[in-house]
Amino acid sequence: MKVRRVFGGILVASALAFAATPATAKNTIRWASQGDALTGDPHAANEAPTNSASRKIYDTLVYADKDLKFIPWLATSWKLVNPTTWEFELRKGVKWHDGSDFTAEDVKFSFERVLSPTSDYKKQVNSVKEVKIINPHKVHIIHTGPNPIFPNQLTSIFIMSKAWSEKHGVTKPQDRAAKEETYAVRHAMGTGPFKLKLREPDVKTVLVKNEDWWGLKQFPHEVDEIIYTPISNPATRIAALLSGELDFVLDPPLQDLNRIKSTPGFKIKQTAQTRTIFLGMNQGKDKLLTASVDKNPFKDVRVRKAFYQAIDVDAIKKKVMRGYSVPAGIITSKFIHGHTPTLDKRHPYDPAAAKKLLAEAGHPNGFEIQLDCPNNRYINDEAICQAVVGMLAKIGVKVTLSAIPKTIHFPKIKNRETDFYMLGWGVPTLDSHYVFSFLTKGADKGWNGTGFNDPEINKAIDQIEIETDFGKRDALISKVWTKMKDNVNYLPLHHQVIVWAMNDRVDVPIVADDGVRFIYTKFKK
């Protein structure tokens, strides 16, 4: 009996010791999402997961923090010295992962790399004419014209080492028409908070803490090691979280959220995203491709408004999105400069008024039309479209739904092969101009499939791009939004809500752009 008790004591003690080891040893966070970053080259693919991966290793001049506030990063301050020149003071004492010093040369080099033909970020900073080195810690970035929101555009322009890039022959981003991969695809060397330890695309990526990171005093983070494993099947991803193989899942499916919440030891976090989901109606063409009527019914604002008021977004929120969406009055969310609560208020849901509007426009019995919808891009995209079909049927519009993969859907919008379509839009610069330049202007080609083309509004948008008087600029932004809302260019549905799931061991603050910032992560003591 005694012996057994002693033995039991030893067992308990060793179990305790074993349980205590991870806490005293290393804070490792194991996490997963649906797909891996496309490349390690920070300028080769402008895509959210790739961006988020680069941000852990590479730094930017300006940083969007966890509340999406712009804060000094590799640049300590910036100002306009004349309408076309931005001056950046660079941080001193910053070291690359290989121990060399970060200087203005690296900034100049990185901008040249970003502007080269194979870069996927060249459009984002295409106003840059040249980078002038004033001294090793000061640069002037000269633009072809005034660019008031240039710092906003820099939160995903990663700075690479000139010496490292030259040494490994990667002074240009990967050319996809080439036959070989470049060194930068699977290797990375930045100034960022984490160093790349292992990179197996699609399988596993291991990052370790950069003990010499310049920001450690300001952001004394607790993460020693990050292990990322993409898991494409949502059920497997959740199973791996619940079985304790993962600490954090970026994209849990909506139907599993209640289960995660109700399991002891797990929690979810949610926030409205910087992405808004909406429907586009082609009001430019004289005759539509799929409508049962000869004249394009969308040319009449009453028809567009009727569609708008026939859709019960609250029902979509409740039934399709399980409560995880924020009904939208304009096609951009509260994080974007120019958004106001008044603008975001919807026209009321009112099927009777919608039917009346439709009758006034000469379609008392409705008409037939096709709705094109992606089925693998946004949260519950196809289900939302199915709900829309049912709601429009109630005012007599017979909608045929065509739900297709995004690789086929998006070209349809850009080639103007759709009359009525779903689209979602995120805004990396967090400024309304980004939305206008892609979705309000450019009726001839590009993402604006509505055919909306108003010379006065286009002029206002051009002015917004270069207006350096922020009061005037805000007035112009408000003017464009009001026009778009009154005109019902688009039919806003909701701002997407993102949800992250994690166990109680870790606390990962959620960020509205869906990009993880591990420097804010805390571990349970």
Binding site: D120, K123, Q124, R176, A235, T236, S243, T407
Partner: protein
């Protein structure tokens, strides 16, 4: 004989070209890869320029000819998605798939054959009926359901086995194996069972029906009449004679195991070729899809070719029939 084999090889090549052509035709329906390769900011001109550089604006025939020309030299270009050479990607992923397929084939043979023999001999026993009923579930349940069920039981509830991945893999030359670590062995258990289940039940049912057939034949009755022990009759005489069709089916099914592994690999995040392919489809990654389909076609064609040649060698009637057939034609 030589003429026959040559003819077969020629046919195999023709099949390959047709497969390449059809799969290439299909790529027109998977969508526009350029859309996934550039950010949403890219302008119309940027996209067009990219399409030009990749040769996607060329006429279909030109694209196909270029593909065949490169494929003959073993050049499949670089993956649009991962920006790495396709040949490297496939050779990196192949060991994972082949190990999974090998483990599954072994499982289905080692379990399927004994159970088939058992249910064939003791056809009225209750245990046989239970096995047969269970095997019905094996044929009818979709692979991904079985996979998810296993994950929920053995990973989430019991916590015995990992729910995804391959465990720790060890590199031996260009081959990466997961059989040298404990985590690797643990990781392969559920995926191989998932993949094996269908083949296992197929083999079980085939062996059983063959056994039933053979047991009715005269030489078994005669053996019994001579008073030979049951064990000798069952295994020495009956079972041996069921093996010919079973071996043929197993051989052919290795090909379909590779094809079926796509679903299993997706469920378990198994880093094999099937998973590579399914991701390529989502991205419209044409170089990877083309190379994968051609490779799978090559595997099937090669197996068929070998089987054809073996038949010819083994079965003298084939030769006679052909001479007669060609003789009557003249």
């Amino acid at each position: 004989m030589t003429a026959y084999i040559l003819q077969r090889i020629f046919q195999a090549l023709a099949v390959m070209v047709v497969v390449a052509f059809v799969s290439f035709l299909m790529f027109n329906f998977v969508g526009d890869p350029v859309d996934n390769m550039v950010g949403q900011e890219a302008s119309y001109e940027d996209r067009e320029e990219m399409r030009d550089r990749l040769g996607l604006n060329d006429p279909f025939v030109v694209q196909f000819a270029r593909f065949v020309g490169n494929a003959v030299r073993g050049e499949f270009g670089i993956s649009y998605r991962l920006q790495r050479p396709v040949a490297t990607l496939i050779s990196e992923r192949m060991p994972a798939t082949l190990e999974l397929v090998g483990a599954s084939a072994l499982l289905s043979i080692l379990i399927g054959i004994p159970l088939g023999v058992y249910t064939g001999i003791r056809r009225y026993a209750i245990s046989s009926r239970v096995i047969l009923t269970l095997s019905l579930a094996g044929v009818s349940l979709p692979t991904f359901v079985i996979g998810i069920l296993l994950i929920y039981v053995f990973s989430v509830n019991l916590g015995w086995l990992p729910s995804f991945g391959r465990g720790q893999a060890t590199q031996i030359g260009w081959w990466s194996t997961s059989f040298l670590t404990v985590s690797g062995w643990k990781a392969i258990i559920m995926p191989s069972i998932t993949l094996a289940l269908f083949q296992m039940t197929l083999i079980l049912r085939l062996v059983r029906s063959e056994m039933l057939e053979v047991m009715r034949t005269d030489y078994i009755k005669f053996a019994r009449a001579r008073g030979l022990p049951d064990r000798l009759i069952n295994f020495g005489h009956a079972f041996k004679n069921t093996l010919v069709p079973v071996i043929t089916i197993i051989g052919l099914n290795v090909g379909s195991l590779i094809a079926f592994s796509i679903i299993t690999e997706t469920v378990f995040q198994w880093p094999g070729m099937g998973f590579l392919f399914i991701q390529a489809v989502g991205f419209a990654d044409v170089p990877v899809m083309a190379a994968y389909l051609v490779m799978v076609a090559a595997i099937f064609v090669a197996i068929n070719l070998i089987v054809d040649i073996l038949y010819f060698v083994v079965d003298p009637r084939l030769r006679v029939d052909r001479t007669v057939a060609s003789g009557s034609g003249e």
